[in-house]
Amino acid sequence: MDKDIPTSSTWAVEARGIEKTFGEMRALRGIDLTVSRGECLVIFGPNGAGKTTLLKILSTLIKPSAGSVRLDDIDIRDKPAQIRRRISLVGNQTFLYDNLTVFENLKFYGKMYDVADLEKRIREVVSWVQLESRLHDRAGTLSRGLQQRASFARAVLHDPSILFLDEPDVGLDPHASAMVSEILESINSGSRTVVMTTHNLEQGLELGDSIIILDRGRVIYEASRQELSGADFRQIYNQYTETGR
């Protein structure tokens, strides 16, 4: 999160003063964050810190109570449909229909995004997540790990420039989690901007170009990968999340 760069057009994600209240509860309290194009921002924080709420706001699923969000220099309130074409979200829920095959699921989402040459693109993304042999199996018959790989295929089908990942390895066994890690490493290898929330400190540090720690709806710590090199991040994390309480 390089704050020295003056023009907003540099940012793939630019959030200013984001607040969100649910009734009496203030889930987010004035979040400012910026992510450069092609950068991976990792958001850490304890349960209830507001990570998922923040990602839902950034991905246009819910509206903030205050503040503004620009993605690829477009205000999400002005052109939500145009924004949604450029973004994708992978959560711990896969958005897949259990009674449709992986192919049918991808075809459905591909048509919703007007993906050109859809069948070819489906073959490409399925090959990327190594799911070719299960392409015509119903999504509901796949293991949790395979479903999550299919979910990644769904997410990149329309080649989004910004990808939001909300704890994508939650509930996966170590083997499936390792496969998801491989996918995560390759997902950010190009010019794609990634914003990810995770509890997995090691994985987050490995993937992130910059990190923030969120607690009780506030950013309580932020640093770049360079700033963190050699530091004991677990100690920092424990210190900051304890301090925030």
Partner: protein, 224 residues
Amino acid sequence: MNKAFTKIFTIFWKDMLTEFRTREIIISVLVFALLVLVIFSFAFGTGADMTEMTAPGILWVALTFGGIIGLTRTFAVEKENSRLEGLMLCPVDRAVIYWGKLAGSFTFMLAVAVVVTPIFLALFNLPIFLPRLALVIVLALIGFASVGTLFSALAVNTRARDIMLPILFLPVVVPVIVSAVKATVTVLAGAPWGDMLTWLQIMIAFDIIYLVAATLVFEFVVEE
């Protein structure tokens, strides 16, 4: 515009394919509607005098309450696995999602009516070929599906969605139910077109109001 229709059809086709594989909605609604017909036909008898008095009400009780069972599933299936979020992330107007789901709800209800109505007519010794009754059914089901799809989206976020949907749905569709029953009375009595025209006009007017209003407010119902 063409793109919007393509996406409405894509959502509709996805719902058809899912239902074809599971038969969750059709079977439950059909069994319920047929049970209502059989129970009422035994309770009231099927004599000519009773038929005129009770048959229209029995048909619409079966279709309305059966329809509610189906409508509760319309968005419940999208709530599982957060699929509604997947739909909401698609680069389409929220109205497209509404019309896609509406097309599915209407088709399921129509499919049930296509099976139930001939059985109803046979049970009550009425002529099987009644095109005017088909028109009444189509108009009423458009009203049911338009309101039901909207309230299904609203109720799916509540804890007691199975109770919430009928509570919201029935008071709003009363004008359509009453008009459908009255129009059915005239059809079964063999009265001329003119006698049912007012009821048809009421149904058409409410269908338009429901469709326009639901299209406009759907966005606010599904967001947050």
